[in-house]
């Protein structure tokens, strides 16, 4: 197994890491039994994600996909953000080892979950 340079860069220098106290939407996925937990926070203005942050417990791929997905969603319309698939995240990272693809799924799910949390809070 080998990680791409891009994965390692996002692992070493994760973008947008940290808690967002005043998040408009929070997505929590994974569980400690599997060794991966992701929390994704989004700040939304006019149906656009204006900021995103994350906190992740997990392997290198879990941290890198979290970092990448927060980068990808910033400035995106919610409807466009919902189109971001796990394979787009993996691709943006220069690919993932096959046994680590599930981390990109986690990132996709975290994003979906944060957006639906936002909608729920907004009472949609």
């Amino acid at each position: 197994m080998a990680y791409s340079e891009k994965v390692m860069d996002h692992f070493r220098n994760p973008r947008n890491v940290g808690e967002m106290k005043d998040a408009d939407g929070v997505g929590k996925v994974g569980n400690p039994v599997c060794g991966d937990i992701m929390e994704l926070y989004i700040k939304v203005k006019d149906e656009t994600i204006v900021d995103a942050k994350f906190q992740t417990l997990g392997c290198g791929a879990a941290i890198a996909t979290s970092s990448m997905v927060t980068e990808m969603v910033k400035g995106q319309k919610l409807e466009d953000a919902l189109k971001i698939s796990n394979s787009m995240v993996a691709e943006a990272l220069g690919g993932l080892p096959s046994q680590k693809m599930h981390c990109s799924v986690l990132a996709e799910e975290a994003l979906q979950s944060a957006i639906s949390d936002y909608r729920k809070k907004k009472g949609e």
């Binding site: 197994m1 937990i37 906190q55 997990g58």
Partner: protein, 393 residues
Amino acid sequence: MGRIYLDNNATTPVRPEVAEALARMLKGCYGNPATLYCIGQEAHVELEHARDVMAKILGCNREEIIFTSGGTESDNIAVLGVARANRKKGNHIITTKIEHHAILNPCKALEKEGWQVTYLPVDEYGMVNPEDVERSITSGTVLISIMHANNEVGTIQPIAEIGRIAKAHKITFHTDAVQSFGKLSVNVDELGVDLLSASSHKIYGPKGVGLLYVRKGTKILPIMFGGHQERSLRPGTENVPGIVGFGKAAELMAAEGPAEEARLLKLRERLWEGIKANVPHVKLNGHPTMRLAGTLNVIFEYVEGESIILSLDEHGICAASGSACTSDSLEPSHVLAAMGVPPEKSHGALRMSFGRENTEEDVDKVLEALPKVVEKLRSFSPIYKDFLKQQTA
């Protein structure tokens, strides 16, 4: 940046004396030892010298040693070979839950063929209870296979005691000594074993070489078929340079003896004391005393092992999460699971295993990097955040 290699249970660098022996063999002694002319006979002599070295270390006869391609092959010949040779006598094998996959997986393959396998439990320190072994014996038991020292946590099993039980019940007894050979005493009579596996690359020898001790009179069948080499139990042109390198490595380990083990123990304890003093929420895995001198397995709560490894790598430090052989898989360690460690904790396990190149300086450098690494990763960790909130609440 100098690298600090702390994964000596996975594999070890070939030591200079062994590299020299290999170079000498490659240059001048390339013959096939089955051939009659000088070059072949020279190879034959070298091969038999290595066999003598091993026989001395194991306290056995030279004819009882079969050179193989590594620990996995030795383990497979032992399990599959003894099982198949005794199919008429019974269909039950006793092993443990904490064996290496080179034992567990042939056992699983046999289960598919109708064999019954008892996987013995271990206590919280990874120790097998010899009474459990005795209780599991049935009239159909043909093999007991229990590892000498565990590769993940280092716990050393009471092999001699189990050996006496096996002998009393006249059951063939194998031990996977891949992690202990060259480090602990492996006299086969003292251990009371009929078969014993070892691997060269764990003791600064070349990769691709191992051995299986097979006590005279043991019923066993080969798993491969071909030429007459190694008493037909391991056919194929012998890897003479590799075997000579393995012999040299074993000889040097034997010469160093317990002094090197004592040195490793000191390094390990220095590291463990330092970790305890500098990193909160850590837990030691493995037996406190009955443990390989060079093995330190620690759980760092609220972080995940692989991310520690990758971060340590940035500091030039090489360590492992669980066993190297399973690092490709996502399963939490089966060894820690057997010891009762819940998966949410075992994901945070880090194995640091010492070897002859390690120094006190290495330990101190690790002690500088590791707390920072763990702290950084915990700062990302949603469950650590939750834990801290609980604390302050």
